[in-house]
Each structure stands twice: as C-alpha cells, then as structure tokens.
C-alpha cells in the first residue's frame, strides 16, 4: 500500500492534484493547497498588467515544502500556441511539468485531440513532463503514450460542470490499456467521485472547481485528501465482487420457529 506516485521521474506524495483557479483570494487558495496535502498544483499564464498588480501566486506556492508547480497552456488554441506557452512557463518557474490544455471552444472548454497530440509530441521530445488534458479517448491515450507523455488526463466531464465521471466507460478502457498513469481531470464535484476514480484504477485525480467553488474550500480540500486516501486503500484492499443475487451476511436458520 505504497501511496507514492511517480510522474516523469518526479515523486509525488499525494494522488491529489489541485488547480489554483477560481478561489476567492490567494490566502484561501494557499490554505486549501496546504489542507489538501497535494504535491502538485496547476497554474495558468496570463499577461502581466502593470496597472493592476495582483497577488504574487508563485511565491507563496513555492514556499510550501515539496510542492511542485504544473503550469497549464490554457488559452492556447492550437499546438503552436501551446508549445510557446510551455516554454514560457518553464522559463518562468523552472518546472518540467506542463499540463497541455488546448480547448478552442470557450463554451465547453473541451480539448482538441489533433492539436493536443501534436503539442505533446513536440514537448515530450524536449524534456518536459507532459500531462495532457484530453478527451476520454482510448486510442488517443495510447498514441499520446507512444509519443512520450508522462500521464494521460482524460476528462470526466466538461470543466466546471461537476457532472462527475460521465465518461467512465471509456476511462475504464484507458486504464486497462495504459502503461502510464491515468489521471481524471475535470468534471469531478464530490470527494466520493475522486475516491471512485482511484478505486477503479486511476493513479490520481485533478480537481479545482470542486474545491474552489465549494462553500468551504479548506474543509473541502481536506475531504478530497481523505477521499483519495480512502480510494487508494480500497484499491489496494480489493473491492468485494458484485453479485447478481443477494448473499446473506447473517445466519438464516429458522431458530425462532414455534
């Protein structure tokens, strides 16, 4: 029951990856990150605005011992833009992790399989630890594995919907076939769903809205931490088999007959 997760040679102590968006303020985000026990936090690039200096995000995050950053390429509409974003992000924070996220449609924010594949191919060849946000597409997962991604991150549902693991059927096939860790990214709403993902064989989950948009992000971060730990213990302990018919747990001897 070793809880260690290795991604691209980097060892993570938690199977929970946390996004840093949508929090009310940086202090809450940092508190939630700490409460979650995560070792990997996603961040996004944006243009620096000299007139509206906002909180420094990287400083407090990097002050958390053992925490690694995983920049994403959000905003990129094609492979070329994503690759550019990846290099900028690496320059910015020095992390080899890159979450490739190419979603041309702002309405559903779903990933483009063609551009994602192309960007991953390029970045994996230049020493990035490539983590693609991708449709729950088993063949695409395999092709991404072949070009050297460190994990595949199929979506459970569209970002921010909280519809859970709506793509479960396909994720099961991805897990069965994959030689790299499978991480459910996007769609999860409840800690129970994170536990279910791990129970079915996912190596980790990535959540953001589920924590940031809850009533109490710090408490919710803790709930996810425990749920992921529970899911991992369950996976290691082997769930009972299901049965089409009932199976008694108590003796049924008619000991009370008249």
């Amino acid at each position: 029951m070793d809880d260690t997760l290795i991604l691209g040679g980097e060892t993570l102590s938690s199977r929970l990856i946390l996004g840093s968006g949508k929090f009310a303020d940086t202090a809450t985000m940092i508190a939630a990150v700490k409460a979650s026990g995560t070792g990997l936090v996603t961040v996004a690039l944006r243009r620096f605005n000299p007139d509206q200096p906002t909180d420094d995000l990287m400083g407090p995050l990097m002050a958390i011992p053992g925490l690694k950053l995983m920049p994403n390429t959000s905003g990129a509409r094609d492979a070329k833009e994503a690759v550019k974003a990846a290099y900028i992000a690496r320059e910015l924070c020095g992390s080899r992790f890159i979450k490739v996220e190419i979603h041309p449609n702002p309405h559903h924010l779903l990933p483009d399989p063609i551009e994602t594949y192309e960007a991953c191919r390029i970045l994996a060849a230049d020493d990035f630890i490539v983590m693609p946000y991708m449709p729950a597409d088993p063949v695409l997962a395999k092709r991404l594995e072949e070009v050297g991604v460190a994990s595949v991150m199929p979506l459970g549902a569209a970002i921010g919907t909280g519809h859970g693991m709506a793509t479960r059927e396909m994720i099961e096939i991805i897990i069965r076939d994959s030689h790299v860790p499978v991480i459910v990214d996007a769609g999860l709403r409840a800690p129970s769903e994170a536990a279910a993902a791990i129970e079915m064989g996912c190596a980790a989950v990535l959540v953001n809205s589920a924590v940031a948009a809850s009533d109490h992000p710090v408490g919710m971060a803790e709930a996810f931490k425990e749920a992921v730990a529970a899911g991992w213990k369950a996976w290691c302990s082997g769930l009972m088999p299901t049965s089409e018919t009932a199976v008694a747990t108590s003796p049924l001897t008619s000991f009370l007959g008249s």
């Binding site: 968006g21 996004a44 944006r46 990287m58 950053l69």
Partner: protein, 68 residues
C-alpha cells in the same frame, strides 16, 4: 528620443536605448514571477540587461494566475 514598443498589445514608450531590464524597472511594485517574450522569442532572465528594445518590438510580459 523614444522607442515605441507594443507591451502586451498596448503602445508603450521607452527612452532610447532601453533594455528589457529598464522596461521592468519602470513597473511599481516590481513584478515577481514573470517571463518576457520579445517578438515571439523568450528572453532569459540573464539577458534582461543586454536585450535592447527598438521601435516596433512586440513585448509580452507574462506571469502566473490561478488556473486548473
């Protein structure tokens, strides 16, 4: 004399001979955690002092924001 550059898609003027370092020094408070892209190429931190900006340069200054 001034140098007219584009900074994050907005016009921005700098004194003649200005470098990336000079551009950044003009911000208050000093930005932490940024990357600089000039005409599509990333400028390493080590080159901020030596990278001169000239008329028409497209400069992007980027930082991290919360993201999922």
């Amino acid at each position: 004399m001034a140098v007219h550059i584009s900074l994050n898609d907005k016009n921005h003027d700098l004194p003649d001979g200005a470098t990336v370092a000079r551009l950044l020094a003009g911000f208050s408070p000093q930005p932490k955690g940024i990357a600089v892209v000039v005409n599509g190429g990333i400028v390493p931190k080590a080159a901020y002092e030596t990278t001169k900006l000239t008329d028409g340069d497209q400069v992007e200054v980027l930082t991290f924001a919360g993201g999922g």
